[in-house]
C-alpha cells in the first residue's frame, strides 16, 4: 500500500493530499550547455573569505548569495578541479582573499533540496576568467526566506562537519 493510500485509509486525507501533491523543488530549466551534477559523491567546492572563518568554524555566510549572484552561488566541481586549484585560482588569478576551500557533496545538496549545475560550457557562464570546473549552487527556486535560511544552515553544518578541503597557510 502506498504511503498516501495508507494515510487516507485511517483519516489522514489532508496530509496525504499534501504529500502526493508536493512536487519537490521546481527548478529553472537548464540553459544550453549546462550540465546537472548527478554523482552524489562529487563535491561542490566553495571559497571562504578569511573573515568568515574563525576558531576553526566556517560561517553560514559561506553560502549566502550576494545581489550579483542572481541565485547562482559560484563554486567549482571536484571532478574538474582540486580544492587547492580552486583556491589558487581565486587568490592568484582573481586576486581575492581566501581562507581556503570548503565542500559539500552533490548528494548533500540534493538532500537539502537544491542542486549543483556545471555552467562552464554554457552561454550563461560567468565572464572570463572562469574558475576551473565552474559550477553553481542553485538558489533560484528558493522563494521563501525560511527555505533559504534552512538550506544555508544545513550546508553549514555539513561543511563544518567535513572540515576544510584545503586550508590556506596563515
Amino acid at each position: 500500500m502506498a504511503l498516501t493510500s495508507w494515510l487516507s485509509s485511517w483519516g489522514g486525507t489532508a496530509l496525504a493530499a499534501e504529500i502526493s501533491e508536493d512536487p519537490g523543488p521546481v527548478f529553472e530549466p537548464l540553459h544550453a550547455g549546462e550540465e546537472l551534477l548527478v554523482d552524489p559523491d562529487e563535491r561542490y567546492l566553495r571559497q571562504c573569505t578569511p573573515m568568515h572563518f574563525s576558531n576553526g568554524q566556517v560561517s553560514e555566510l559561506l553560502f549566502k548569495q550576494s545581489s550579483q549572484d542572481g541565485g547562482k552561488l559560484s563554486g567549482s566541481r571536484s571532478s574538474r578541479c582540486t580544492p587547492e586549484e580552486a583556491y589558487e585560482f581565486r587568490v592568484n588569478t582573481l586576486g581575492k582573499p581566501s581562507a581556503g576551500t570548503w565542500g559539500v557533496t552533490v548528494g548533500d545538496v540534493i538532500g537539502a533540496l537544491s542542486r549543483v549545475v556545471d555552467d562552464s560550457g554554457s552561454e550563461s557562464a560567468p565572464s572570463p576568467p572562469i574558475p576551473p570546473g565552474h559550477a553553481y549552487l542553485d538558489f533560484r527556486h528558493v522563494k521563501a526566506k525560511a527555505d533559504e535560511r534552512r538550506l544555508r544552515s544545513t550546508l553549514t553544518i555539513i561543511a563544518n562537519r567535513s572540515g576544510p578541503a584545503f586550508l590556506a597557510e596563515v
Binding site: K96, I157, N160
Partner: protein
C-alpha cells in the same frame, strides 16, 4: 618655514574668470583661486560628486599653508582666534570647460598689521605645484600637516584627469595622478592609505595637533590631525576609561607593506565604542577595524552600535555559562554569532541597525526555530532553549 621657501616674490593678483564677477552680487567676495579640473569625468558636463574630494583637499591645503605662513611670521605665537574659519572657501558656481570651480572667501582674514595669509597661501600653492611638477619636490620647511595636505591633492584623480593651477594663465600648472604617484614615491614599500584604525589615545598635544594611538596589540602610533575641530573629539577619547573603551579613527596613514602602519597622517573622524566581552574582545576589536571593501570588495565597516550590542549580548550569554560563539561580519556591516556541532546550527544575527534575528536548525531531529526577539532577555531565552551539547 625655511628661508628657501619663503613666499614667492610674485605679487600678481589672483586671476579672476572675466565674467564671474558679473554673475555675483556686489557684496559677494571676489573669486579666489584660479583652478580647473579637466579630463575624464570632468569632460562629461557638470562636476562629478566623487570629484568634490579634490576641492575639500584644496581647502585643507589652503588652511595648512596659511597656518605655516602665519607661524613663520609669528614664531611661538598661537594662531589668532577663528583663523581657520576666515579661510573657509565657498563654491559659488561651476563653469564649463572642463570644470572651473569658482570659489570665494566669506571674509578677509583681517589681522591688524598682517597680510592676508589666505591670499598668500593660494599663490604659494601655485608656486609649490609648479615646482612639484617640474622638480618632483615638496617645499622644504613646511609643517608635516602641510606636507600631508600637499600629498592629498589629486588623490581621487583618474588616469586622464588633471588638477590645474593658474588655469586661466598662459602657462597653467597641470597636476596628474601620475605626477602625484611620482611625488609619493610609489616605488618604495611605504604608501599612504585611507582607512580605519582602532585603539586608545595615549597622549594629545593640542598646540602641535599631534597624538599617540595605542593599538590593541600594544603598538604606539604617532598621529597628527589638521582639522582643529577634531581636538574636542580626541580630547574626549583621551579621557575615556582605558579598560573597555576604544576609538575608531577614520584616517589617512602611512603603511609599510612589511612593517604595517607607520604614522597617522590625518584624521577625518573619531568614534568611541565600548567592548565588555571577556573572551571575545580580541575578535571584536579585529572586526571593528575592518576596512570598507573587506572580503570581495563590497564589505562595509562593522557598525559600531552593532558591535557594542553584540558585546552586551555576550555578557548576558556568558552569565548563562554559554560557550563562546564564532563571530562573523556580514557584508552589510552587521555581525553574526554562530555555534555549530555535528548536526545542529544556531545563529544570532545583528544587522547594522541593531535588529535581531535568531535561528536554530537540528538536521538530526528536524527541529527548527526562528525568531526576531525584541531584546536581549528573549534572545538569551532562545539560545538557552537550543543548547548544542557543549558548543553553547
Amino acid at each position: 618655514m625655511a628661508e628657501s621657501n619663503e613666499m614667492p616674490a610674485s605679487q600678481r593678483e589672483v586671476s579672476v574668470p572675466p565674467d564671474s564677477v558679473q554673475d555675483m552680487a556686489q557684496d559677494v567676495p571676489v573669486p579666489y583661486a584660479d583652478l580647473k579640473l579637466s579630463g575624464g569625468r570632468f569632460d562629461h558636463g557638470g562636476f562629478p560628486l566623487a570629484g568634490m574630494a579634490e576641492l575639500a583637499n584644496y581647502q585643507r591645503l589652503v588652511f595648512e599653508v596659511a597656518r605655516d605662513l602665519w607661524r613663520q611670521a609669528n614664531p611661538g605665537k598661537r594662531l589668532p582666534r577663528r583663523f581657520d574659519d576666515k579661510l573657509n572657501l565657498s563654491m559659488t558656481e561651476f563653469r564649463a570647460g572642463s570644470v572651473i570651480p569658482v570659489m570665494s572667501r566669506n571674509s578677509p582674514l583681517d589681522i591688524p598689521g598682517s597680510p592676508d595669509y589666505g591670499d598668500q597661501a593660494v599663490r604659494y600653492i601655485e608656486e609649490a605645484f609648479a615646482r612639484i611638477v617640474s622638480e618632483n619636490e615638496l617645499p622644504g620647511g613646511i609643517s608635516y600637516a602641510a606636507a600631508v595636505a600637499f600629498k592629498r591633492i589629486g588623490s581621487s584623480l583618474g588616469e586622464h584627469e588633471l588638477f590645474q593651477f593658474r588655469a586661466s594663465s598662459e602657462n597653467p600648472v597641470k597636476y596628474s595622478k601620475k605626477l602625484r604617484q611620482r611625488l609619493l614615491g610609489h616605488d618604495t614599500n611605504v604608501e599612504s592609505r585611507d582607512g580605519l584604525l582602532v585603539g586608545q589615545i595615549r597622549s594629545l598635544d593640542s598646540f602641535e595637533k599631534k597624538f599617540v594611538l595605542r593599538t590593541p596589540s600594544g603598538d604606539d602610533i604617532e598621529g597628527s590631525y589638521a582639522d582643529a575641530q577634531l581636538f574636542e573629539d580626541l580630547h574626549e577619547a583621551h579621557k575615556l576609561p582605558e579598560s573597555t573603551t576604544l576609538i575608531r579613527l577614520a584616517c589617512t596613514y602611512q603603511y609599510d607593506v612589511e612593517a604595517g602602519v607607520q604614522k597617522i597622517e590625518d584624521v577625518d573622524s573619531v568614534t568611541p565604542f565600548r567592548i565588555e566581552a571577556a573572551g571575545l574582545s580580541e575578535r571584536l576589536v579585529t572586526l571593528a577595524g575592518l576596512e570598507d571593501g573587506w572580503g570581495d570588495g563590497d564589505g562595509q565597516p562593522v557598525s559600531l552600535p552593532t558591535l557594542e550590542f553584540v558585546s552586551k549580548i555576550w555578557q548576558a550569554l556568558e552569565a548563562q555559562a554559554t560557550q563562546p560563539p564564532a563571530i562573523f561580519p556580514t557584508e552589510e556591516g552587521g555581525l553574526q554569532m554562530e555555534w555549530v556541532n555535528q548536526t545542529a546550527h544556531l545563529q544570532v544575527a545583528v544587522d547594522p541597525e541593531v535588529a535581531l534575528e535568531v535561528y536554530f536548525l537540528d538536521t538530526g531531529t528536524g527541529e527548527e526555530d526562528f525568531d526576531e526577539p525584541d531584546g536581549i532577555d528573549k534572545l538569551v531565552e532562545f539560545v538557552g532553549r537550543h543548547s548544542l551539547g557543549g558548543r553553547n
